[in-house]
Symmetry: C2
Subunit: 498 residues, 2 copies
């Protein structure tokens, strides 16, 4: 089987760097599955300590002009393939962080290579349209065969944007306009003179003191509106003016779930009650709530489908819009295309935002009244990027061709079982394992989290954290059982070093 995995990459790297240390597992331990990328390496390869000398030199050069203090590693994308990310020094790591959960179908995916080489792509790059004014004549086709083909059930329209932050903020704007329109008594009602004048000096009633409610530990972006709903860490928010918007508690569940069913249900009930109280009582009326299906930056915090159904009921009951932020959870990683597909909602969310694995961004909606009553109210120069919309279409095609959502569900189960075994073996290092039935969107807490992550690269894996103490797994959708085997062995190896 090793021959199947032997890659030209490995051969080339070995030819240049005789000291390469290939990390392999005993072949009979590996799950047998046909790899999606025939040229993927058999396993991680370490040529130097990380960062190696070339990476250090290149980082110093970049530092002259660009803030590098958040740098994780400089990558050599020309040598990265599938699930493996390469650096300048010949190191090749199994990547279960995938940028920031944002590479869906592998580095140098051949199908995306074709999309990138298409004449449509070239035109979208060099004739960039202002999509609200001068869209390309095929924009409708690109949307219908791409972004909208993946639209969540019940949502058939889209406002395209550039990144998760502005996707959320334009959704907030839609919610505020909708709220005021209801207050005014309908779309045909004109603005008052007082509104027209007061808004120019940022005062009510033209610029009303309304709010968006978010949840403790939630993350929704870093621009001024989205940051006002972000509640992950102080470092994300310090020194930046914020709107006086409410924060509801998010359930703090105990694991394993099956041993704490009653407590957890009570905790969720408490949070729902408090959420509804805030909606009713907050001094700046709540136009919408926004929630992540799994709080991702905030520490991989889960809640049950019943909790989210409860939220949906509360928003319906109180005439507040329900925005689901699928920026990190969307596009397959939880074993459903959209994580909120796990909830069995009776009515769809009012808006669903997306970015990251979609490579483009925006919000889906179904209610035509969420189109503002006049043009140019929800508008900007680019309104997204057709190049990235073409890439998302290619990603959707690849997901369908390879049934990657279903595969991710199955691989996730396999991986989760392996982690359960490790959690029994090393209970002090693998606590609160979570994400069962959520594809590969899995995490656990560990007391020496930062040390754990730092040792990842030396063990051949690129792995990330979330919140204060979680290790979060965010592999790509092409992550397979044999990759899970490598990951499990690396995790065990790291634990033994702690």
């Amino acid at each position: 089987m090793a021959a199947v995995f032997r890659s030209s990459l490995k051969l080339r790297a070995s030819a240049r760097l005789p000291a390469v240390r290939t990390i392999t597992t005993t072949p009979h331990l590996r799950a047998a599955e046909k790899p999606y990328f025939s040229n993927e390496p058999a396993g991680p390869k370490l040529a130097t300590a990380i960062p190696g000398p070339k990476n250090k030199a290149a980082t110093a050069e970049l530092d002259e002009v660009f803030d590098v203090r958040s740098l994780n590693m400089l990558a050599d994308y020309s040598k990265s393939v599938g699930n493996y990310i390469a650096d300048l020094d010949g190191n090749v790591l199994l990547d279960v962080y995938a940028q920031i959960a944002s590479i869906p179908v592998g580095y140098n995916n051949p199908h995306l290579q074709k999309v990138a080489a298409s004449s449509e792509m070239a035109s979208s790059l060099i004739n960039r349209p202002a999509l609200g004014n001068f869209p390309s004549a095929d924009w409708s086709h690109v949307l219908k065969t791409g972004i909208l083909k993946a639209a969540p059930k019940g949502l058939d329209q889209v406002f395209t944007a550039m990144a998760g932050s502005d996707a959320n903020e334009t959704a907030y704007k839609a919610a505020f306009m909708y709220y005021r329109q209801l207050q005014r008594g309908g779309p045909e009602k004109e603005f008052t003179e007082e509104e027209l004048q007061s808004t120019m000096v940022n005062q009510s009633p033209g610029s009303p003191q309304l709010s968006i409610m978010s949840f403790k530990a939630g993350f929704h972006g870093r621009l001024f509106g989205s940051l006002s709903t972000t509640r992950s860490k102080p470092i994300h928010k310090l020194d930046i003016p914020a709107f006086d918007w409410p924060q509801a508690p998010f359930p703090s569940l105990k694991y394993p779930l099956e041993e704490h069913a009653r407590e957890n249900a009570e905790e969720e009930q408490r949070c729902l009650q408090e959420a509804e109280r805030l909606i009713k009582e907050w001094h700046n009326p709540v136009a919408a709530i926004i929630v992540e299906p799994i709080q991702s930056e905030g520490g991989d915090n889960h809640a049950s489908p019943a909790f989210f159904r409860g939220l949906r009921e509360i928003t319906k009951r109180n005439n507040v819009l329900f925005i689901v932020d699928e920026v990190q959870t969307g596009v397959g990683a939880t074993g459903k295309f959209w994580a909120h597909d796990h909830w069995n909602l009776e009515t769809p969310p009012d808006m669903v935002t997306f970015s990251k694995k979609a490579q483009t961004a925006g919000y889906y909606f179904g209610n035509p009244a969420l189109r503002p009553n006049k043009p140019y109210r929800q508008f900007n120069t680019w309104m997204g990027d057709p190049s990235r919309a073409l890439i998302f279409r290619g990603i959707i095609e690849e997901i369908e061709r390879l049934s990657l959502v279903e595969t991710t569900a199955a691989t996730g189960e396999y991986l989760y079982s392996g982690l359960e075994r490790l959690a029994k073996q090393y209970p002090e290092h693998l606590q609160n394992l979570r994400g069962k039935g959520q594809g590969t969107f899995i995490a656990w807490d560990t007391p020496k989290r930062d040390e754990f992550l730092a040792k990842g690269k030396g063990s051949g894996i690129n792995i990330g954290g979330s919140g204060q103490s979680a290790v979060r797994l965010r592999p790509m959708l092409i992550f397979q059982k044999h990759h899970a085997d490598i990951l499990l062995e690396s995790v065990e190896k790291i634990i033994k070093q702690l």
Copy 2:
């Protein structure tokens, strides 16, 4: 000379559409200049009333899924070339709006076609890095040979972003962090426990009530922070919560400038005094001011270099940062690469933001203290888009190769003279002509503005407005004197129809 202009496009269009009406001017009236695009049409071509039947059908289809009420026209970019934009019905218009002032070097520019087809481009499209964490190893090179090569004098660092709005907002965030750092007494000072806790609930002191001052009629974007500084039109702001930030008056100059020198100087003085008063007295302390070199969306409002030098002095004197928003004015259109190059500042702006013609976005800065004191304070997943950074590098190369900034200055003079002639001939239709010495960044007021713009397409030109009553010219940098001739004739033709 006509042979030089004969394009394959024209031949193809004519072959299919025998009814095509080609708008040409008498050859001897045309300024003789070698065209940059040998395949550009000789002039606009009208095949149908606009919008034609195919455009109407395609618009109805797009309307099902995307808000089309701001639609200007659906374009067929495969048939657009150089300064000419084509639609689905065989109409080809001289484009002096250039999307929203955002196409710099022509539709289907051959050099950009090469950039789009490069392997670097393919990799940046399909292996999209989270630039703050995993930049490509050549990111430093891409920045230094591209975005930073064009950096304004005195500014040698960049924070890359996605669009003008988030470029401005990240600049505001940098300003707030810098302001609080000065208040705290330096970068090494730690946050207090009170700050850490209060910011999580959006309260002061962690989320301080600071402000950014902007100018009446200014436009800086539509996200929540940038919209709080935007003061262009109520429709941009209504129903959206805003920060309580101050608005300074922007000079309202009288034209022709040479006849109103004293009054205009007094008006600028009045505005400067009021700006300084607001900085000293506004209840939410001002961390930075932001200003456009020419207020673009707000109606093409100009001020003198002396006014901007005065602003710079005020900001220095009051320890407030000076942000110049070059999103619309940047990249050559004013006859300098950056419009603020016209000002002869003694010290550079603290930050300069860019987007539109750059196709990518961000802010330049020179002061290393504008890098926050800790990592992850100024951060997001994408932090820009390397694909668009490669396109901007190609644009810069094309600008250099063809000396497009200098050419635009010369073409602008030629065009301005022609408009002066028309203004004398039709004083009621061409008022307050402005932009002399500012390249092709020219505008005028006209009482029947919307009617004027609507008649543009029927006269073969795609032309835009700004503010309440201005016609704004935003041709590309490849706009030449022979294009100016066509434009001048079209303008006269439209005036005669009013």
